[in-house]
């Protein structure tokens, strides 16, 4: 056990962790930030995606100790008070979520995609970039629409 300090959503947070503790366990169990989900054990589903030092990472595949001193942004840190982030708002308007379990990871991964591609984003790029985030409910149709809309690319359909 050791005490670890990670900046999460702008605040320095500390918790006692074992060396084997995963970043997602630190977030969920250490800090009670249960918006980040665990949907698999092989880094396939992407439900645990968070932003770490500006990059989307699957927090089930990062040891908490590797994130020491890092800046981590989770789904809980996206909205501005009651005002949703444009991506959160687009997901809702386009009905890009049903059960909502994959949604936090999908939104955090999309945030990264939009930041990297900006106005160049198109449907094919969205599909290519989000290939590592699984959703079982939506058939992805409305997710692609929401991401393009949030990126300012309008709606393709």
């Amino acid at each position: 056990m050791r005490q670890l300090a990670i900046t999460v959503n702008g605040e320095v947070r500390t918790a006692d962790v074992e060396d084997r503790t995963l970043l997602v366990e630190f977030l969920r169990e250490g800090l009670g930030l249960t918006g980040t989900h665990v949907g698999c054990d092989t880094t396939q589903c992407g439900a645990c995606t968070v932003i770490m030092d500006g990059q989307a990472v699957k927090s089930c595949t990062v040891l908490a100790v590797m994130a020491e001193g890092a800046e981590v942004r989770t789904i809980e840190g996206l909205a501005d008070g009651d005002r949703l982030h444009p991506l959160q708002d687009a997901f809702s308007r386009h009905h890009a979520l049903q059960c909502g379990f994959c949604t936090p990871g999908m939104i955090m991964a999309s945030l990264d995609v939009i930041e990297r591609h900006g106005a160049d984003l198109d449907a094919q790029t969205v599909r290519h970039e989000l290939e590592g985030n699984l959703c079982r409910c939506t058939g992805y149709h409305n997710i692609v629409k929401a991401v393009l809309d949030a990126a300012g690319r309008g709606s393709p359909r």
Binding site: D41, A79, S92, H95, Q98, G100, R136, N142
Partner: protein
């Protein structure tokens, strides 16, 4: 039984305004129903504030891990717990014998569908079938890989998992059987001594003599042997449960997402042998269901039992590997079908021999039963003969999975129709047109007894073809060819049944501030009940949808309720909410009349307010409610009549003949869902339904090695889920032919996306590959399967290939 056009609806089927006490609904007054309202659920879910089962934790909780069978079939000898118990942090290791000693009993899944209109399924001798008792932990033998035989409880999850590996079970491996067609062979290993030969359901339906006669005089007969492969739901949220025991009150609380908390409470309290009131089940946000969560899981009972024994909270969360091994799975039907046609291409008769693989014990016969009632699909087939069998094998149990039973039989009939088109030389669309039921044929009793309520089947097909730009397929085909790709199109018509648990209850309360609360017993897992149910109650009470809050998933609030399955929720909840709303307005009218000192019929009601006719004196619903005397009604309804959603879907694929990769380039569908309450939600349901059907057709497969009995798809790396880069955009439209069976005219939405998709994908691939000599291909249609099919076709002399 013979098919019957314009069959009368039986007593109690047709919506009767007088028995429902709701009057005839005036659709012109609807202002919220039919609107694509954004969901009320979304805010918490997009901000990370959802309440999924594993999100709950209680101070001092323990963690459970399971000791699972590594064998498909093995006798359980001595279980040595000593080494596991000695590990630090381990609190208890419990076995099936401990559970028996504590008086725990088997889960009563009641797997035989029992509404008045389900196809009856019995044992070969006509008696109720033996289903294989489902103890939380078996004591005699393990009957499938992954079956839990002991539970370890420890201070941490890691400690529990470490200890589970140290539990030493003296296994005696037994011969196993995986495939149902192997299990019915004479020398097959027997799973249950009570059912030698493994076949525990064997029934016949329809009219064997008339069918035989029709086949004898047929101009054309086509046959097919098909396997609708085993798949699994892969809910993105693995199942999880947290049990808490309050020694002072003797009550347990279970935080566990499911398909309906009321059922969980009823069946789990029975397993534990405690009064129902001593168990509270909470099912808040549920990360996908698709049928897999409808039945009770042993782990839910185990954490409850352990927490009562140890007097501490106990939590269990399945890993994805455990989910692949032990989530209730779906499909796995062998069907042998034949269709007889006359010289004009009119269908004369059909036979089907359906064998369902239920796994190691029977938790649900819904797939077999549902499919049995729909073998003739959307077509007029005067007579049919059907045999239905259900068989035990050494595999995980199967259960209703997204559109239980219907994709299987839709796949079968549409494959047959396609074969018939080839055999007779009649254009496949024209052949369908000649045999589709016409609107005036409905209500229609099909040859196995199902009574279709309403629909415009041919109009669905025409509309879907227009949406798909069917007339342009030739050009697209040539265009694909120019790019070195082979294009194929596949069309399937479907009709399905939505039945479901018949009972539902609604409690509606108006608070003094005007807020309306509705308690209902369905259980959404993404279908947006909090939004769409609000739309219904809002219109019934003529108030804004934003004023209505829906309460679900807490058995301390919800006393009766059938949960969500079989597309039942909107129809059953909608109906009982209409009835309860009418009750509420009646009670309120009397109160308002008293308040205004007038006769009840001297009042007009509009927009939440009673007004004395011709005056400006009025009282609102809120005025009639107080903290001491809230304005409140409760209504329970039992409704057996099924409904028959229907539609047409069309898939276009492009195949790369070099790599054998398949890309779906276009997918269109028209779904008759009856009245659509919220089109945004219904379209979303269709999209997801299509993806699940396409997934089964193209990638998904619970592959099991027949030699060892070992499941080969144990993670998302070896089970092919639809991904965002393998799915197209969909062109889906809704048709609203109202059902005559319920006040809102609702059928069901969502499952209609899945039902025809197995057929559309397969037919599209066959359409593409037929010129190359490929006439059959099994699901999932992977590039390897295409390569093999092309290879086999190339090696087959041309003259032997069918014309």
């Amino acid at each position: 039984m013979t098919a019957q056009r314009q069959a009368p609806l039986p007593d109690g089927w047709a919506y009767d305004a007088s028995t429902v006490d709701a009057g005839v609904l005036n659709a012109e007054l609807f202002s919220e129903i039919g609107k694509p309202l954004r969901r009320r659920e979304d805010h918490r879910l997009v901000t990370g504030k959802g309440r999924f089962s594993d999100d709950f934790s209680i101070e001092g909780q323990l963690f459970a891990a399971m000791v699972r069978s590594p064998y498909a079939h093995a006798r359980i000898g001595a279980i040595d717990k000593a080494e596991a118990e000695a590990l630090p942090g381990v609190v208890a290791v419990l076995t099936g014998q401990d559970a028996l000693d504590d008086g725990l009993t088997a889960i009563n899944h009641s797997p035989v569908p029992s509404t008045r209109f389900d196809v009856r399924l019995t044992a070969p001798d006509g008696s109720p079938p033996f289903i294989g008792p489902h103890l939380l932990l078996p004591v005699d033998k393990a009957r499938h890989v992954g079956e839990a035989v002991a539970i370890v409880v420890a201070e941490s999850r890691a400690a529990a998992l470490d200890a589970a590996e140290m539990v030493d079970v003296a296994w005696e491996e037994l011969p196993h059987v995986i495939d149902s067609l192997d299990a019915i062979k004479e020398d097959a290993p027997t799973l249950w001594d009570e059912v030698p030969g493994n076949t525990f359901v064997d029934c016949e339906h329809g009219n064997p003599e008339a069918t035989k006669a029709a086949f004898e005089e047929a101009a054309t007969v086509v046959r097919a042997k098909l396997h609708i492969n085993r798949v699994t739901a892969v809910t993105m949220e693995p199942r999880a449960a947290l049990a808490d025991y309050d020694a002072e009150t003797g009550r347990s609380t279970l935080y566990a997402g499911s398909g309906g908390a009321v059922r969980q409470k009823r069946e789990l309290s029975a397993v534990l042998g405690i009064p129902q009131d001593d168990l509270r089940v909470l099912s808040y946000d549920v990360g996908g269901n698709f049928g897999a969560r409808n039945r009770v899981y042993v782990e839910f009972g185990l954490v409850l039992w352990a927490s009562r024994r140890l007097q501490r909270p106990v939590k269990y969360t399945a890993s994805r590997s455990e989910a692949f091994l032990t989530d209730y799975q779906g499909r796995d039907l062998h069907t042998e079908v034949a269709l007889a046609l006359d010289a004009d291409g009119k269908f004369l008769a059909m036979t089907a021999d359906n064998v369902s693989n239920v796994g190691a014990r029977c938790v649900s016969l819904s797939p077999l039963s549902k499919g049995a009632g729909l073998i003739t699909g959307s077509y007029h087939i005067p007579v049919a003969h059907l045999r239905t069998r259900a068989v035990f094998t050494n595999t995980m149990c199967t259960q209703a999975y997204r559109s239980s039973g219907r994709p299987e039989v839709t796949y079968a009939i549409e494959r047959l129709v396609d074969l018939a088109a080839i055999e007779t030389g009649i254009d496949p669309i024209e052949l369908r047109r000649r045999n589709l039921l016409a609107p005036q044929d409905l209500p229609y009793r099909n040859a196995v007894g199902s009574l279709y309520d309403s629909g415009e089947y041919e109009a669905n097909m025409d509309r879907a073809m227009a949406l798909f730009e069917w007339d342009d397929v030739g050009r697209r085909r040539a265009d694909a060819k120019a790019r070195g790709k082979i294009l194929g199109v596949g069309l399937a018509n479907y009709v399905e049944s939505s039945i479901g648990t018949p009972k539902e209850r609604a409690e509606i309360t108006v608070a003094p501030d005007g807020a309306v609360e509705v308690v209902i017993g369905t259980q959404p897992s993404g279908q947006g009940h909090e939004t769409s149910f609000g739309q219904v109650v809002a219109d019934m009470l003529q108030i804004p949808a934003a004023d209505v809050t829906i309460v679900l998933g807490d058995t301390d609030r919800v006393s009766v309720g059938g949960g969500s399955h079989s597309g039942r929720s909107m129809r059953h909840a909608g109906t009982v909410m209409v009835m309860a709303s009418a009750d509420l307005l009646r009670v309120a009218r009397d109160l308002a009349a008293e308040r205004l000192d007038l006769a009840p019929d001297a009042l007009d009601y509009a927009d939440g307010t009673f007004t004395a006719r011709g005056t400006n004196r009025s009282v609102t619903l809120a005025d009639l409610s107080s903290e001491q005397n809230p304005l409140s009604v409760a209504r329970t309804n039992e409704m057996h009549a099924p409904v028959f959603p229907n539609g047409t879907a069309i898939c276009e694929v492009e195949i790369d003949p070099v790599t054998c990769q398949i890309a779906i380039t276009r997918y269109a569908s028209v779904d008759d869902v009856g009245r659509c309450i919220n089109p945004l939600i219904v379209h979303g349901q269709s999209h997801g339904g299509i993806a699940q059907g396409v997934g089964q057709a193209m990638w998904e497969d619970c592959a099991i090695d027949p030699e060892s009995g070992q499941p080969l798809a144990g993670s998302l790396m070896d089970y092919g889920l639809p991904r965002i880069d393998t799915m197209p955009f969909f062109d889906v439209e809704i048709s609203e032919v109202l059902s005559p069976t319920n006040p809102l005219g609702i059928k069901a939405g969502g499952e209609g996306g899945t039902t025809p998709a197995l057929a559309t994908v397969t037919l599209a691939v066959l359409d593409a590959l037929r010129p190359l000599g490929v006439t059959d291909i099994a699901m999932p249609i992977t590039p390897q399967r295409i390569w093999q099919a092309l290879d086999t076709a190339a090696a087959t002399p041309k003259e032997k290939a069918p014309a």
